[in-house]
């Protein structure tokens, strides 16, 4: 998604001189499509993310559209209060790109794992929160939101190759995207872990369990009506995210079920434990936290048996 992001932003910059790209000294072999085309509108501010957000607040007040780039934890968490008191409080069009949601920076360790960004960003009213599932959706999402009047947080991934089947780059603010339909179970995914969810749905189908799979890429505004309509057709749904189970799509879906009084049990599949210092790849962490497709199938079958009994 990151090359797609840089290329798409470079295209948009051709038509809108307000666009600037600032990085906190990250984005090697990623941001060049923009930085080489628009060197005068690209700025490495150094390893100083708080200042990057403060700068963007000042730039946006004067009419610019600053995009800020860093790894999820440094983009969202380090300058969180600056985001709150700057772009959010002033409702200015600052765009924050958090790169590598979930365990994408696997062996870099827990300081680089983005596991609570959607939760903390979703807390801020007036902050649009977008978490695409693959690179075509990331492009559509950027094209749909780049010139919104208020601030936006994008949770992007490094993968510019994987395509989620049937998603076809669809994105709409405040909507979900259905990528598979079945009547036995509902799977709701956020981000690039959707790939595991698709594999799990295929395996479940081979065992006679037909799933509907929804992708939630618009976390704020919430896709309330779509979620309500789909959840009301099921007695059981799994939410799947490379994120702590608190604050992300599992929380969002649970809020909809509770507030709408729907009769659907929610199983939140996500990260539930604090880091233990054991290192590994994204795949390793998915397995560790029961988020690989094999574990998701097991969780689904167990939950179905409980609901049916």
């Amino acid at each position: 998604m990151r090359n797609t992001f840089a290329r798409t932003l470079a295209e948009l910059a051709e038509h809108d001189p307000r666009i600037l790209l600032l990085t906190g000294d990250l984005g090697y072999m990623a941001l060049e499509p923009f930085s080489e085309k628009w060197p005068g509108r690209f700025l490495n501010v150094g390893v100083a993310e708080q200042n990057m957000v403060g700068l963007a607040t000042g730039l946006a007040e004067a009419g610019f559209l600053p995009f800020l780039y860093s790894i999820v934890t440094f983009a969202a968490l380090r300058p969180y209060e600056f985001i709150r008191n700057g772009p959010v409080l002033h409702q200015l069009p600052v765009r924050i790109i958090g790169m590598g949601g979930g365990f994408e920076y696997g062996s870099a360790g827990p300081t680089h794992h983005g596991l609570e960004d959607v939760g903390v960003m979703r807390l801020q009213p007036g902050l649009t929160v977008v978490a695409p599932a693959d690179y075509p959706q990331a492009r559509t999402a950027l094209l749909a939101t780049w010139d919104l009047p208020g601030p936006v947080y994008y949770r992007l991934g490094k993968d510019d190759k994987t395509v989620i089947p049937s998603l076809e780059g669809r994105f709409e603010l405040g909507r979900t995207q259905t990528i598979r339909e079945g009547k036995d179970l509902l799977l709701i995914a956020m981000g690039n872990i959707s790939q595991q969810v698709v594999l799990a749905a295929e395996e479940l189908a081979s065992q006679g369990v037909n799933c509907t799979v929804l992708v939630v890429a618009s976390l704020n505004p919430s896709p309330l009506e779509d979620l309500k309509a789909t959840l009301s057709q099921f007695r059981l749904a799994l939410t799947i995210e490379a994120h702590y189970v608190v604050g992300g799509v599992g929380s969002l879906v649970s809020e909809v079920v509770a507030e709408q009084g729907l009769n659907c049990r929610i199983i939140r599949c996500g990260v539930k434990t604090t880091p233990d210092g054991v290192s590994g790849s994204e795949k390793f962490y998915y397995q560790k936290h029961g988020l690989n497709h094999e574990a998701l199938v097991e969780t689904a079958l167990l939950a179905l048996s409980e609901v049916r009994s």
Binding site: Q50, A56, E61, G63, N85
Partner: protein
């Protein structure tokens, strides 16, 4: 609204600070009195603001937002606020809270969380550079605000990019909420620290309007590093029993204290 740079009276600002603090029964009086002369200098002599909504207006960020009452006083004296509006300070439903909010015409940026204002000011100065504008950006910081590491991120950035139209002013009163800065977290030598970070440094008497006006008028804002005025001030300036006294960071005045303060300021 007036486009003129009216000369503002520091003592009028002080009287308004006392009146409004007493009416609303709130503190932060000493901090506001500390910057009364700096605010009189900026809004009376320096800032080019044809009207608060002008995109080419010079920007001012009160990074030490808790002293906002001094700014409201200047707005009133410039005719940007009516008496009725000023009298809503700290009332329910007012835009005039303890800390400045950008929703109020004339306030460029909301502040209140220390260590954020200089970054926003630096962004504003960078925006002016990108736009080829001659407008200057001013930020007023407290000395204790330099405890915040984020302030130094902005200090480094502004110097590296030689933002010559950025002018910071430090209200060096030597006090913070719970004590004296030298006892809590030493900032000395303040001027050398800024100089070491690449800024052009000027030490001034923060209660001498003529000196501050002249210093700012002689700044070369066409090129070179950013500027910082280290303004030596007295916390609570103008009211003898408040001067250099820690409790007047938060304390409200009794009736007798209010009367004495008015007498000393010259109501």
């Amino acid at each position: 609204m007036s486009g003129d740079n009216l000369t503002l009276s520091s003592n009028q600002i002080r009287r308004i600070i006392l009146n409004q603090s007493k009416r609303a029964n709130v503190g932060h009086i000493g901090s506001a009195l500390s910057i009364a002369d700096i605010i009189a200098t900026l809004y009376g002599e320096v800032l080019q603001i044809p009207h608060p909504g002008d995109p080419e207006r010079e920007r001012f960020i009160l990074s030490k937002g808790h002293a906002s009452l001094a700014v409201y006083a200047a707005f009133y004296l410039k005719g940007w606020l009516t008496k009725e509006e000023l009298n809503t300070y700290c009332s329910d439903g007012s835009l005039l809270g303890v800390h400045p909010e950008h929703c109020l015409a004339g306030i460029d940026f909301s502040t209140g969380s220390l260590g954020q204002g200089l970054s926003m000011a630096t962004g504003a100065a960078l925006a002016a550079r990108f736009q080829g504008s001659p407008r200057r950006t001013f930020a007023l910081l407290s000395d204790a605000e330099c405890n915040e590491g984020s302030s130094w991120e902005a200090i480094m950035f502004a110097a590296h990019h030689r933002l010559s139209k950025l002018i910071a002013i430090i209200d060096l009163n030597g006090q913070q909420a719970l004590g004296y800065t030298e006892e809590i977290l030493s900032l000395s030598p303040m001027a050398e620290r800024w100089r070491a970070f690449g800024w052009r440094v000027y030490e001034v008497d923060g209660h001498n309007v003529a000196e501050m006006k002249a210093t700012i008028a002689h700044l070369d804002t066409t090129s070179g590093p950013p500027h910082v005025l280290i303004a030596h001030t007295v916390f609570g300036k103008g009211v003898s029993y408040m001067e250099r006294q820690i409790k007047w960071h938060y304390w409200p005045m009794s009736d007798a204290e209010y009367q004495q303060a008015l007498d000393e300021v010259g109501a």
